[in-house]
Symmetry: C2
Subunit: 297 residues, 2 copies
């Protein structure tokens, strides 16, 4: 653990022990959720629950997107049914799927029963895909527009759909069958005359992957074409989801770790150096940074 | 080489041999520059020069951003002085710096002499930094606004500065000394009322790195905070550049490769498996995909 993180934890534990909740709330609201996650992973369960209870709903859902499954389950138990629903609805869909996929059947059903019918059925649809494929890591929170609207209308669509979308920087153009027929970046949209028609300026050759494409191939394509997101389609050309570059970085790290274990001729469970290394830098950090694991050898 | 690539190369070589330049131009304009680079890397020098001569200027600069240095030098020699200048000016600044940094002093001077004074002095400034640091991989093509303008004016600034910028998705807010005082995403800008003042809605705690920060630490931060770009400042807080996530993926791949060599207890030059592997999948592909190198073991 680095010194700055250790200092933060001391400071926050002190406030927690003295029940200074207002002060703590102000302090944490200025902090990035990724830093809060790092701190939570180092706290005892009791203090974790105290800390999460003082956060705003926005921060809570961000934090829940990044903690590991056992911590997620334990923290979620501190909330009422309505609060749980709120948290799950605020979270990114791809993160909720990842979490639910790692639970047993009973826990899965319990969480799915919290959600409204539409969200639950979207999640069930996503749970069908193998977790190492494009379908398994995609989200259904993307922006689509019809091809015959103007640039002005398309930007309005971005505004309307923004709050739900995983990224607003690509707008996917679909026909009446929801088949992917083009793509426009927000960059192109805002530098183009407002009365142009989407179909005239969209890129028709959309770089895309299939729901069954292996996640390593998806990563290769995002890296090669310098994309912020890549759309995922079924064989019939209908768009089913998107994968954003931040998740691609997670894939690269995951694959690198797997590859290292292969290289070392062992499996994750057996590997001793990993254990001690995890203790040294904290499980949450190492799980996000497998490419660094190698540098300790 | 995969079958699809091999087919493309056959098709293109045929057109090149028959000097079907108009047809070739139409064919290549529909192709992504990253695919054209893959093809170029497989052609003989004569055909490379023929192929590049039929591309549009836009495509040429995109292609030049991604080829390896020796190919860059050889291809560039096919153009006149004015054409060379045009290509260098169209290319992303970080890519030009990478290329120039790998040349000897005479070649460096020759290329710098082609550029206008402002661009040349920016490049010289960037060449000072160690290539493994934030300063060494950043670009100076970013968008800044003053803190007292409206959201409407800020979006107008994005439109004006877009053609030069490496990304338009973050707008950096600076004071009269060019010190970084805030950041706004284009996402936030387009969902906010047009008459709001930038200072009121900007995020004041900007996640940033120093020009001297090691590139591995930069990658760790971009991954941790899920950023599309990260600003680079000097000790006095003045913004000097940005690094975009596509370059961060390159860093992760580069560091992973280095780490693998360390793990194997050898250096790049000595490592035999690497040599044969490079031949197998083509140098251009392997240089972009070191994390895949490991899977062949």
């Amino acid at each position: 653990m680095d010194d700055a993180l250790e200092m933060e934890i001391l400071k926050i534990t002190e406030k927690l022990d003295q029940n200074k909740f207002v002060e703590l709330n102000e302090y944490l609201e200025d902090m990035h959720s990724a830093d809060i996650v790092e701190i939570i992973m180092e706290l005892e369960e009791e203090n974790r629950k105290k800390l999460i209870s003082v956060l705003s709903w926005d921060k809570i859902s961000d934090v829940f997107e990044e903690v590991e499954t056992p911590v997620f389950i334990s923290l979620l138990s501190a909330f009422t049914k309505d609060q749980k629903r709120m948290i799950l609805e605020e979270m990114g869909q791809d993160d909720v799927v990842d979490l639910i996929a790692s639970l047993d059947d009973d826990k899965q059903k319990e969480l799915l029963s919290l959600l409204n019918r539409e969200e639950a059925s979207e999640l069930k649809e996503l749970l069908v895909y193998d977790e190492d494929t494009a379908g398994g890591i995609m989200t259904k929170d993307y922006i689509t527009v019809k091809k015959d609207i103007t640039v002005y209308q398309a930007i309005e669509e971005v505004r309307v759909q923004a709050s739900e979308a995983e990224t607003v920087y690509y707008v996917y153009v679909v026909d009446h069958m929801q088949r992917l027929v083009g793509v426009l970046s927000l960059r192109e949209l805002i530098v183009t005359k407002a009365n142009k028609i989407v179909e005239e300026i969209m890129k028709e050759q959309v770089i895309q992957v299939n729901v069954g494409t292996d996640q390593e191939e998806v990563a290769r394509m995002v890296a090669k074409y310098n994309l912020i997101a890549i759309p995922v389609v079924e064989n019939n050309g209908i768009i089913k989801g998107i994968i954003t570059v931040d998740d691609i970085i997670d894939v690269i790290e995951e694959e690198a770790t797997e590859d290292i274990y292969k290289f070392a001729g062992t499996t994750e469970g057996e590997y001793k150096i990993e254990d001690s290394f995890q203790k040294r830098i904290g499980a949450s950090v190492s799980s996000r940074l497998p490419w660094l694991i190698v540098t300790v050898f």
